[in-house]
Symmetry: C2
Subunit: 345 residues, 2 copies
């Protein structure tokens, strides 16, 4: 069942190549890196020999002397979250483009995992860390602030000193969503948020509140419910709204997955989206335009944000610093899940 090559054959080293080419290992080292110090002809010969013998430079040995691993660590709550997956995809693409490899680790928002992951990254001497965990508790902050390599936070700009960030304009985008619902004629608009203490939730809720206030609408605390950002909890949170004596005519959801669950619950109550209740989300997952009805939401350029975070990190690694924190705008995408409320309400 296995290849004919013995599995424990130790890989060819630079010295093996040197012996074959009848030069010193120093010359091989230079030749393989295309140093101008070595004569073109011998360089070519050495490279040919290396190629033929399947030589692969040992990144471990190299990084030991260069103090660079060309490696970054990425911590996420869960890669199974489609938003996170989009971001990581962007990160990996630009990392690969620059010769970097990415270590991926789930934290599942468990403090134990968080410390073990960061420790592991430190041991592996990553050149930088990207945290897309959305929640940076006090203990986690303490941990990260002692890390010796640059850190970029994604969707979590931290008030403190130890990290740079790439975020989306949560408040502004939320204002636009809420304004959109108000403009349609809604007056009882619910907020279905996330209870895990994410900064994004705080900011999105604050945008929702501001828009209400600007329109002279009251903030009804009973219309504010929270889940965990997954469909099932969106569903149960929506259920709490539907049993109200005076249920909302529109719901602004923390993210598209919550909205998915909310829509499901609404249908199961025999109501129609958007005819009876309008639903808006946040993220614009690439399934969202295929939902029935297609979901009104805020487009968050996930891949691009990941890409920006990575480029930012690379710049810090190279030049020691990057400019001010980046905030990308969100784009309101109006689709079929939002409509004017029924006249008789």
């Amino acid at each position: 069942m296995r290849s004919p090559v013995p599995i424990n054959a130790k890989p060819a080293s630079i010295k093996d190549i040197a012996r074959l080419a009848e030069v010193s290992h120093a010359t091989v080292s230079r030749a393989l890196r295309n140093s101008p110090l070595v004569e073109p002809k011998t360089a070519e010969r050495i490279q040919r020999i290396a190629r033929e013998s399947g030589y692969r430079t040992s990144a471990a040995a190299r990084s030991l002397v260069t103090r660079r691993s060309n490696t970054v660590g990425v911590v996420v709550t869960s890669i199974a979250d489609p938003f996170v997956a989009g971001v990581v995809s962007g990160i990996e693409d630009t990392a690969n483009q620059h010769g970097f490899c990415v270590f991926l680790a789930n934290s599942h928002a468990e403090p134990d995992r968080e410390v073990s992951v960061v420790r592991s990254f430190e041991e592996r001497r990553v050149d930088g860390i990207i945290v897309a965990a959305s929640r940076v508790g006090a203990q986690y902050e303490e941990l990260l602030s002692h890390v010796q390599v640059p850190i970029v936070l994604l969707n979590n700009q931290h008030p403190s000193v130890f990290a740079h960030s790439v975020t989306i304009a949560n408040a502004q985008a939320s204002i636009e969503v809420t304004r959109h619902l108000i403009a349609l004629g809604h007056r009882r608009i619910a907020y279905l948020g996330d209870a895990q203490g994410y900064q994004s939730d705080t900011e999105r809720f604050s945008g929702y509140r501001k828009a209400l206030r600007a329109a002279g609408l009251p903030l009804d605390r009973r219309l504010v419910v929270r889940g965990d950002g997954k469909p099932e909890s969106g569903r149960t949170a929506m259920a709490r709204l539907l049993v109200l004596a005076d249920p909302p005519t529109a719901v602004f959801c923390y993210n598209d997955l919550s909205a998915l669950g909310a829509m499901r619950e609404i249908r199961d109550h025999g109501l129609n989206v958007p005819h009876d209740i309008s639903v808006a989300g946040f993220d614009d997952l690439y399934i969202s335009e295929y939902m029935d009805p297609p979901l009104t939401t805020v487009r968050q350029p996930m891949q691009q944000m990941g890409s920006m975070a990575m480029e930012r990190l690379l710049q810090i690694i190279a030049s020691g610093d990057a400019g001010p924190d980046v905030e990308v705008p969100g784009e309101l995408v109006v689709r079929g899940s939002t409509a004017p409320p029924k006249k008789d309400l």
Copy 2:
């Protein structure tokens, strides 16, 4: 904006700890690994000093001598694919559990990326590789067969010698889906597949064919269309089916994302799922039960499959070999997207 710690401060080495503890670096090495050779009292003292000075063992230096990196490489077509993300989540969880870190790399099914990724993994001396790329072309196979570390293929058992595999019982599950549609009374059942030459597609199609034959139904080539596994191509492929003079009354889709697009196209033609056309998928993404209607599909235990692949790899790394290849069964999950065909057809 930065931590007070100078960024280029070189991390404490084992020798620094040795100096502080007034012992040799050998003793430190032993103490940190809890070797019985060192006196418990001094071991404790050394560990305290190491902890206080924030020492982190250099994985690079260690792996240089141990010839083990405690690292695995994972190649996927795209982490943005929710199925892939589920699998990778399972992989990472069990890897982390065993002290391993995972390198994640997208290949985007581009041959260039594939070779560069594998080369990069080799340089980093990963202890093993998991390929969840679903497609292993001739060139890729040639590449992988020369790799010196164990390889586990996911959903792509390869007839050759160089790799182990974890797969789902594609053919059997597809037979069950098709049988389910036949049992509902359908006689014109389409197959909406994947055109990228994935083995999964071949097997699922073959299951579809077998079930038709077993029921004495003819295979109509016009009812077989293919896309790329994403919603948009599911939509366009469905469009080709809808313009037929005698369109199908049911569609079995290669995966849930294709089904999502197909359902959208059906609705856009003013038709109803499942009343006019039944739709079945494959994967059971965790959004699928929230679709409208909820999707009939085959549950593929993504996380568990990832976990199994990783455990398999670990076993090969540890003991040199693992048993025969693993095939997990798929579970037909019947939901609202499939129903008997209209009587008048």
